[in-house]
Symmetry: C2
Subunit: 309 residues, 2 copies
């Protein structure tokens, strides 16, 4: 099966990314961080390892960067804490793992993958998920590790209100999540997604990112999908699995399926966001209905990183 | 639109229901409880009220019965607590609400519906969901209210092991959840699902029941679905939305779609369970791949309650 055109695509969130507020320095920092994550995942694929390993490597890089709303750069919730969600799915076996509302875990996607590998469950939340993490001696970081001045100031601005806000941008329209999808040399697909959720979120709110079929999905028969955007709309639209069903049941190509799901379904509901997707032939589609999406992809023929439309 | 053939279908869990262990008395108790719940929902529909109100009424009845693994009859988790999950979805607007890992709330489905109506979120978990419940003065019950001797003895048998068990039956194959789907006189669909999860569950495990598209889904363009069974398999199969997609994208009838999703997809993964479904024409399908499912349905022409195949 080594004729498969292996490849990877990643995102670092989507939304109203105002170019006039973006400095050259900032743009360079984002571009560099995206490229580092893509290359980390691509090298895993090149060496013949699995798509699961590739998406884990890429998402860990994004989680380790303070630039993106996941892992180290996770936003503050209403209590001034960092509560993170992540999920991962193997397209070959349809095995999936996810964690939600978890604090202090350095790499939430790594923990999600341990749930996939070492439990009979798919989704673990809160203190229970942390107890599971302790069994596997997962890397834990202090609250200080997750403190970034930018996120803190985002939170300070709205913390005494009932507002909550999706990450990114000057106003309320930057939708932070990170994710990766990959096809490996054995023809197996995988998808992973990770997020810190919304600034000032409360009531134990969970979005689409840790939910299989909603923010993340992989199936060797169709495609791998990682979503980013207004989580509640992606949930109600069951976006990740919708794209897979449009391919499997309606016979659409990956590009047409991703476009229909984002530009028609999600848009009709009033949701903002986007997806990175890859199919079993190695075709990559990155589709979004807002101003920009931090994104990139790489296969044997092509490598790109982009922010705006 | 009053020509619509309104109706309701409910379930109280599925699995290996061993007829030889079932007394006449017990069977009568289950049958009576199911009929009470169906009638409660049906009366709401008959009076011209919404499908959302009908599924809420039916599921509240099932939650108030100690016989089913939801609300009052919820199983014990590994800490001897009752942690409950529920979800509800409106097929007209695709608005949805859900709560998970919540303790002491008398009617979890009612709280899920408050999330749908009064928040910008879809899913709230744990203490955060309870804090939201307090805002609305939702009925809270003591731990004693949720204590049933049968559940306690189920838990005692396995509490010192790493085992966990799906509710019901002599062995480990009774899969407890309750749910309802309805079509109202205005042609609107709704679905609701509620559960206590698995006996001795730990690590903050959440199953399919509170997850939109997985254990519960409603869309006026297709159907309303409530699932019960081995949650992790229903999650990986994205069962509820799969049935909707088979109708919308592949053009299958409700019955064919439910059969394909349960008898082919779920079974191929190794999962046990079933669904109750209704479409916009009022057709009802109840499909399961195990020995039995506590179930029932009612419309203008027909009323039934059944347990075995």
């Amino acid at each position: 099966m080594s004729e498969y055109n292996y490849g990877i695509s990643i995102h670092g969130g989507a939304g109203t990314i105002d170019k006039s507020l973006m400095t050259n320095e900032k743009e360079l920092a984002y571009t560099h961080a995206l490229q580092t994550a893509i290359d980390a995942g691509y090298e895993v694929l090149e060496s013949g390892k699995s798509a699961i390993k590739a998406v884990t490597a890429a998402v860990c890089e994004l989680e380790n960067s303070p630039l993106f709303n996941a892992g180290r750069g996770a936003v503050f919730n209403s209590l001034g804490q960092h509560e993170m969600d992540a999920s991962i799915m193997d397209g070959k076996t349809l095995h999936a793992g996810a964690i939600a509302a978890v604090r202090n875990v350095k790499n939430p996607v790594y923990l999600a993958n341990l749930v996939r590998e070492h439990s009979d469950h798919v989704l673990l939340v809160g203190d229970g998920a942390l107890e599971f993490a302790e069994k596997f001696k997962v890397d834990i970081e202090t609250d200080a590790y997750f403190h970034t001045d930018q996120r803190y100031s985002q939170w300070q601005k709205i913390k005494d209100s009932d507002d909550f806000q999706l990450d990114h941008t000057s106003d309320k329209k930057y939708l932070g999540t990170v994710g990766a999808v990959a096809l490996d040399k054995n023809g197996n697909l995988a998808a992973a997604t990770s997020t810190g959720g919304m600034t000032n979120k409360k009531f134990g709110r969970i979005g689409d990112s840790p939910l299989i079929g909603l923010g993340n999905y992989a199936n060797n028969n169709t495609c791998a999908v990682s979503c980013t955007g207004s989580g509640e709309f992606l949930m109600r639209a069951v976006t990740a699995y919708d794209i897979s069903c449009l391919m499997e049941y309606k016979g659409l190509s990956l590009q047409k399926a991703a476009e229909y799901s984002i530009l028609n379904r999600l848009t009709a509901l009033g949701g903002d966001g986007g997806v990175v997707t890859i199919d079993r032939q190695g075709s990559i589609s990155m589709v979004f209905n807002c101003d920009g999406m931090y994104r990139g992809s790489r296969n044997q023929n092509h490598s790109e990183v982009a922010i705006y439309k």
